[in-house]
């Protein structure tokens, strides 16, 4: 409970809402009849409008990337370790834009919003989404904010996919593309984990075919289970061993003891699942995981990543983490190799970490130093 905020925090931030009244055609062919985006900005846009940085969020992310919403907030935004005055994405130099994507459940138009055609929440009828739909709508926000070119588009995981899509679709509007713990497409194993999570949700008796809001209920157990499955895959075996080991939260395993046994890791996972189920929408989870599964950077370029990246103009920084098995370093190296073959400028580092996929959110000195050094160059190039 920070009475005053840390000196390297952006401090108190207020989300803003941008309304778009014109209908937008999505990649599935359906039309979204107007929509709203909730977003936050940190830092000041310079006179030339050249220092804007877009943060693309991952599966369960949202617009609140840095700072605090109130003095009573226990925790800052989800990427506060990396955004702020003096931090790698230095808000003294950059104008940082962070939004909640459409289909989300934190204030932007999504499955919990009212469908104007029916007067009830969209629920399962919300159009299916691809990463490019987010890029398209992010770009509409960009124009509304008076930004012509991003100094950098930055994203981890699913956010990295959006950043790469940006570089291909709007090559003249992205100077630098920072892709962290991401992939050009998911592996079968990765899709399998997403499907197990989705099945957990849809098999919850309270799911009601996605119309749980109309039934005045929530598929909490299914969503919690989905999050538990996901959460395991975001950690590494070693990280879990170090953090929980076989420590018991309750009971004991001595002979003759009949007390109910609960491992620390069980308690932790259940808690994570339960917390998530209270703040996330099940239909959004389905939408976002499907967008992840559908993403294939090179599909429209003859399945050739080199041909795809030949369309990009940005300079790239690609970062992976040693124990990340959900978006393994090998996936990042595929990105890097395609970029090299396409003749793009790219830097790549593989950061040692025990934090698995979650490492991209965690403060790691080498990762911080590298991103700082890169962003400093980006800042120096801002006219």
């Amino acid at each position: 409970m920070p009475a005053t905020f840390p000196a390297d925090s952006v401090g108190l931030v207020t989300p803003r809402l941008q309304r778009f009244d014109a209908p937008v055609t999505l990649s599935c062919g359906r039309e979204l009849p107007g929509f709203e985006l909730v977003y936050e900005t940190y830092g000041e846009l310079n006179a030339a409008g050249s220092n804007a940085v877009l943060i693309c969020h991952a599966l369960s992310g949202h617009h609140h990337a840095a700072g605090y919403h109130s003095e009573d907030d226990r925790k800052p935004g989800w990427w506060d370790h990396y955004i702020g005055p003096g931090k790698p994405i230095d808000t003294r130099r950059f104008f940082v834009v962070s939004l909640n994507n459409i289909g989300g459940c934190h204030g932007s138009t999504g499955p919990t919003s009212i469908n104007p055609a029916t007067g009830i929440p969209w629920g399962p009828d919300f159009p299916s989404l691809r990463a490019r739909d987010w890029v398209l709508t992010q770009r509409m926000l960009m124009k509304a904010l008076g930004i012509e070119v991003w100094a950098a588009v930055i994203g981890g995981s699913l956010g990295g996919m959006q950043a790469m899509r940006w570089a291909l679709l709007y090559p003249d509007e992205v100077r630098h593309c920072v892709v962290i713990a991401s992939a050009m497409k998911l592996t079968a194993q990765n899709i399998a984990f997403n499907e197990a999570a989705r099945q957990a949700i849809v098999s919850d008796p309270n799911f009601h075919g996605g119309r749980y809001l109309e039934h005045d209920t929530l598929p909490r157990r299914g969503l919690a289970l989905a999050r538990m499955i996901g959460h395991i895959t975001y950690l590494s075996e070693g990280g879990m061993r170090d953090r929980f080991g076989r420590a018991l939260k309750a009971g004991d395993l001595t002979l003759g003891s009949d007390a109910a046994v609960e491992f620390q890791v069980e308690s932790y996972l259940r808690y994570q699942g339960d917390v998530f189920a209270t703040r996330f929408d099940a239909n959004t989870y389905l939408l976002m995981t499907k967008a992840l599964d559908y993403f294939d950077l090179a599909r429209d370029y003859g399945d050739d990543p080199v041909a795809a990246f030949a369309h990009a103009r940005a300079r790239f920084l690609v970062i992976s983490f040693t124990t990340d098995w959900r978006f393994a370093p090998a996936r990042s190296r595929e990105i890097v190799n395609a970029l090299i073959a396409a003749g793009r400028a790219v830097s790549y580092a593989e950061i040692e970490s025990e934090h698995g996929h979650d490492a991209f959110l965690v403060p790691i000195p080498r990762y911080q130093a590298l991103l700082s050094a890169y962003m400093q160059r980006v800042a120096e190039e801002c006219p």
């Binding site: 300079r315 890097v336 190799n337 090299i340 003749g343 790549y348 580092a349 590298l370 050094a373």
Partner: protein
Amino acid sequence: MRRVDLALIMPWIAHGARVLDLGCGDGDLLGMLRLQRDAEGLGVDIDHEHILNCVAAGIPVIEQDLNEGLGNFGSGSFDLVVMTNALQTLRYPHHVLDEMLRIGREVIVTFPNFGHWSCRLHLALQGRMPVSKFMPYTWYDTPNIHFCTVRDFDILCAERNIRVLDRLVLGADHTRNALASRWPNLFGTTAAYHIAR
């Protein structure tokens, strides 16, 4: 390799060349090429400090272990592949040389000359592996696991059908002095080869 040494191989590098620098260190060579040759380069290194310094200098750099192969680089995908003072640290220098000649149309490689008279004298008189300011490591704890001489490298090139386009052997004072030019394998401290297939 020191900046003065790098300056000596500059004339071998064409304007606008696409250069791959294996074991690029802090990116000194690629930085010089960017300024003096308008050449866009890519560095490869494994040392965290080197990678950070390259990124800070705006030099594209890839974290990759040269000993684990260079199969990720396409054949003929670079005009020039450079390796300064790293050949002797590799597990299989001859395989890496083959790979460099596959990836680049031309290759520049530099290495310390183990045939220098001081090495020979050290081994002859003391009967021990040379340790000097120039080669400061003990034999059991050194990154330099494959030292060679200028003559060794000439023979390797002949055996593997590698064309030597240019050769430069520097003396102890880091210049092309008369002794090093006349007797390179005896008076040369650093050798630089410009080669192709």
